[in-house]
Amino acid sequence: MTSREALAAYEMIQLQERLDLLRREHLGALRALERIRLERGELRQVNMATMNILEDLEEEKRRSLDAQSALLNMLEDIEEERREGERTKAVLEAVNRELEAFSYTVSHDLRAPLRAISGFSRAIAEDCADSLNDEGKRYLELIQENVNRMGALIDGLLAFSRLGRQRMNTSDVDMGAMFDEVFQEIMAQEPERDVKLIRNPMPLLNGDAVMLRQVAVNLLSNAVKFTRGRERAVIEVGYAADVEGGAYYVRDNGAGFDMKYADKLFGVFERLHPSEDYEGSGVGLALVERIVVRHGGRVWATSVPGEGSTFFFTALGGRST
C-alpha cells in the first residue's frame, strides 16, 4: 500500500468512526426526542388528571361550603332553641316563685282570721255561758271543730308549698327501721287500736331522711286510718323487687277505694271518702307524690274496695338539689 493509500484508509476509518459517533449521538438525540414526545404525552395526561383533581377540589370546596353554612344554620337554630329554653325556664321559675309566695302568704293570712273566729267563739262560750242554751253551745262547738279543720287544711297547704323550696339532704335511709319507728309513734296516738304490722325486708334508700319520713308517716297513718273498721287490722310493708325495677309498698286490709278514681288519689285536696267517715286534709298523698317525684320515682296504688289497698313507690335515689 502506498503512503497515499494508507492515508486514505486512515481517513476512511476516521470518517467511519465519526459517522458512528454521529450516529450514536444522533440516536441519543432521537431517543431523547422520543422520550420528550412520550413525556409530553404523559405531561398532558398528568395535566388532565390535575385538571380533574382541581375540578374535584372545587366541587369539594363547594360542598364543604354548603355543609358549613348548613352547620352554621343548625348552630343558630340550636342557639335559638337554647335561648328559648332559657326564657321558658326563667318564666317557669318566676311562676313557681310567685306560686310559692302566694301559698305562703295565703297560708299565713288565712290563719289570722281563723284565730279570731276560734278565740271569739270561745270567748262567747265562756263569757256568755249563762245566756246560751244547749243548741247555742253546740253551734259554738261546731264552729270550733270547723276552725280546726280549716287549720289542718292550711297546715297541709303550707307543708306542700314549703316542700317545693326545701333543699334535699341525701343519705342512705333505713326504710324498714323508719317504717317501724313511725308505726310505733302513730299507734301511741291511738292506744285503743290493735293493728298488726308485718315488716318484710327492704333495701336502704338513698334520699332525704326528713322527707322520706313524711312519706312513711302519711302512708302508714292512712293505712291505720282506713283499717279502722277491721276487727283484725293488718298492715304490711316491704319491697317488691320485680315491680318496676323495685318498689317499696305499704299494704293494708282496710276500706280500699274504687280503682276508677285512682288518678284522683294524689291530687291536692282530693278525697275519695267523705270527711265524716275518715278525717284528713286531703294533702297527705299529694305530699307523698311530690316527695317521691323529687326522689326521681313514682307512686301509685292498687285496691279492691272493702278488701284493702297497696301503695307502691319507687325512687331512683335523691337528686341532691
Partner: protein
C-alpha cells in the same frame, strides 16, 4: 331595785283581733302586769328609745313581737333592740304565724329569746300567751345592765 315597769309587757301587734285575744288571755290568766300595746315596728322603736333616754328601769320587762308589722317588721325591730347595749338584755319573744325555717333561723341569729307559733285553736292560744307571760315575768331572771356596767 324594784322599778316602775318591772311588770310591763310591750306587745307589738298590728292585728287587732290577736291583740284583743292576747289581752283577754292575760286578764283570764290573772297575771299582775301592765300591757302596752303598739301597732307597728316604728312606733315600738320610738317608745323604747324614749324610755331608754329617760331611765333604764322604765324599759319594758319583756317585748312580744309579731313578725309581719307595718313600717319596721319584727326582724328589723329585733335587730335594732339586740344591737343596742342598753336594750339587748330585754327578753324578746316573737309571736307569729310564720313557720318558715328562714324566719326562725334569722330570728335566732339576731338573738331572739323565744320564737312562738301562734296556735289557731283558742284554748291553746290563750294557754300559750299566759305561759309565756308568766315565764318571762315571774320565772325567768334577766340580767339588767346599770350605768356602771357600761
Amino acid at each position: 331595785m324594784m322599778a316602775a315597769n318591772e311588770n310591763e309587757v310591750l306587745l307589738v301587734e298590728d292585728d287587732p283581733n290577736d291583740a284583743e285575744l292576747i289581752v283577754r288571755a292575760f286578764k283570764k290568766g290573772k297575771l299582775t302586769m301592765s300591757l302596752v300595746h303598739l301597732r307597728d315596728g316604728a312606733e315600738a322603736m320610738d317608745y323604747v328609745n324614749i324610755r331608754r333616754a329617760r331611765e333604764r328601769a322604765s324599759l319594758p320587762k319583756v317585748i312580744m313581737l309579731d313578725l309581719k308589722l307595718p313600717k319596721l317588721n319584727g326582724l328589723e325591730v329585733l335587730r335594732k333592740l339586740k344591737s343596742d347595749v342598753l336594750t339587748r338584755d330585754i327578753p324578746v319573744v316573737i309571736l307569729t304565724s310564720s313557720q318558715e325555717e328562714s324566719d326562725i333561723a334569722q330570728a335566732y341569729s339576731l338573738g331572739v329569746n323565744s320564737y312562738i307559733l301562734k296556735p289557731i285553736e283558742s284554748d291553746e292560744f290563750s294557754k300559750t300567751v299566759v305561759d309565756m307571760g308568766s315565764y318571762w315575768l315571774r320565772l325567768n331572771r334577766t340580767r339588767r345592765r346599770h350605768e356602771g356596767d357600761l
